[in-house]
Amino acid sequence: MKAVFDEFDAYLQAFGYTLALFLVSGVLSLLLGTVLVAMRVGPVAVLRSAAGVYVTVVRNTPLVIVFAFFSFAGPTLSIQFNWFKVSIGDYDFTSLFCYAVLSLTLYTSTFVCEALRAGINAVPLGQAEAARAIGLPFGGVMRQVVLPLAFRAALPPLASVQIALIKNTSVAAVFGIAEATANMRSLLNDFGATQRFGIFACFALGYIVIVEVFSFLSYRLERRWRVAT
């Protein structure tokens, strides 16, 4: 445990990368997931089946394989981010960060899509029919009536999906991101002989804190958004 406190800055920076991965991929996966679910329940048959196939394929592929695909096959398929280089303070975000965000976003968005679909199924059919009856087009029905209700209904499973994402960022440790798990493995290599348990405990605690803060916020939001019934 001493090893962690001796280089506490490195510990914080590592969790900083974990958080950055989570925040960027979290927002992007919510956006992409919403688009996907609109395609899945929409009136255009081609889009409906395209979204269905996408969800089936990506959701059933292990995350490590998604990562490996973009990391190793990506560059040869000219999916390249070598132009990307952003530094904010001590943090450098380069092409490796892009690959990680891309993998996490594409993977998590399928789960977001399915959680939202459950939410849409929970919206009483009369709501959508009423929206249609007042002359709203599909986009308007989704944006102004169905999705706001669906998001409220789907908040608990959406929070679970995002919590899974927080922990899934650890896969990036072996794809070039110096995030928390990578830092932990570094410390284990140097000090694992004598401080193994303490190092594990410190890093588990870091993840628990992030997840707990996030859960707390989602509970608050759930209460705020609760629909009077």
């Binding site: 190793f72 040869t76 490796l96 072996v174 110096a178 990578a182 284990l188 290599n189 002989a193």
Partner: protein
């Protein structure tokens, strides 16, 4: 219908078994150099020593790496791993009168960087020869003796790169294995270490241009440069020194003198040199002089 399915399943099973057998057949002769197994080895050790126990049982478990070409590497169809670590381990095993080529007698367990100390402490392995750097921290919990090999970190870049040493890579991303000592050294030198799961993945990243360089022990890099001749080159001086030693359990401190004895003998009779030439020689590393062994701690 049901019967056809069962038949199909049996056919598939049979096929996969025969394929596995094919794999075995190909690897009979790539077990590395033959070592002479000592006869009646058990008589040579004092009663009560762990060496005697092992020699009498005729069984030993050695922890090695499976993923470092030239040091400890096991291909999918190999029975036993190959490499310099493994050759040195064979000398030790043979000295106990155990046949290192017989997988019933000698178990080659894969040890990764994270589990070497726990495996020794729990007795899952009797010896560790897994590019195991000697450090004071590790010596608090396990026994380490040697070194039987010293190596240093260098840099591998594309052949057309104008980078000349690690100093030219300040602030740049340099690939190595997540959690390895190499990645810490890269950071200490001012470059930014990025970690992947294995060195071969780093090679891939250097080749596709995502990172401009990778860095770890020169002996490993030389192997990859030889594999990708004309595309990759090893540059710069070694900027670290690692002493690679043999790990044993502190419960059996008497093993230290024995290990040193066998190593010393191999330095003198040329078997150390031969092991080096057979494994690391082809990648263009010149055979160095054998290192000086550390003294064993007073038991």
């Amino acid at each position: 219908m049901r019967h056809t399915r069962i038949k199909a399943a049996i056919a598939v099973l049979g096929l996969s078994l025969s394929l596995a057998a094919c794999g075995d057949a190909g690897s009979d002769d790539d077990g590395g150099a033959d070592v002479e197994v000592k006869e009646n080895a058990a008589d040579e050790f004092d009663d009560g020593t762990y060496m005697k126990e092992l020699a009498e049982a005729g069984k030993i478990t050695v922890g090695v790496k499976y993923d470092q070409p030239g040091l400890g590497f096991k291909g999918a169809t190999d029975d036993i791993p190959s490499g310099f670590d493994v050759e040195i381990a064979k000398l030790l095993v043979a000295d106990l009168g155990i046949d290192p080529a017989d997988t019933d007698a000698t178990t080659w367990e894969e040890t990764i960087s994270d589990n070497r100390e726990p495996f020794l402490e729990q007795g899952k392995v009797d010896l560790v020869l897994a590019s195991y750097s000697i450090t004071d921290e590790r010596r608090q919990v396990v026994g380490q003796t040697g070194p039987y090999f010293t190596t240093g970190q260098q840099v591998l870049v594309k052949s057309d790169s104008d980078v000349e040493s690690i100093a030219d890579l300040k602030g740049e991303e340099v690939c190595s294995v997540t959690g390895s000592t190499s990645i810490d050294r890269i950071n200490e030198e001012g470059a930014k270490g990025v970690g992947f799961d294995s060195y071969s993945e780093c090679v891939q990243k250097v080749l596709d241009g995502t990172v401009s360089a990778m860095s770890t022990d020169g002996s490993i890099l030389a192997g990859f440069a030889a594999q990708n001749e004309g595309q990759l080159k090893v540059i710069g001086d070694e900027f670290s020194e690692e002493n690679i030693g043999v790990g044993y359990s502190l419960e059996h401190p008497e093993m230290c003198e024995w290990i040193n004895g066998v190593l010393e003998e191999s330095f003198e009779n040329g078997s150390w040199e031969k092991a080096f030439e057979d494994t690391l020689g082809p990648s263009g590393v010149e055979t160095p002089d054998p290192p000086t062994l550390d003294e064993c701690p007073a038991a």
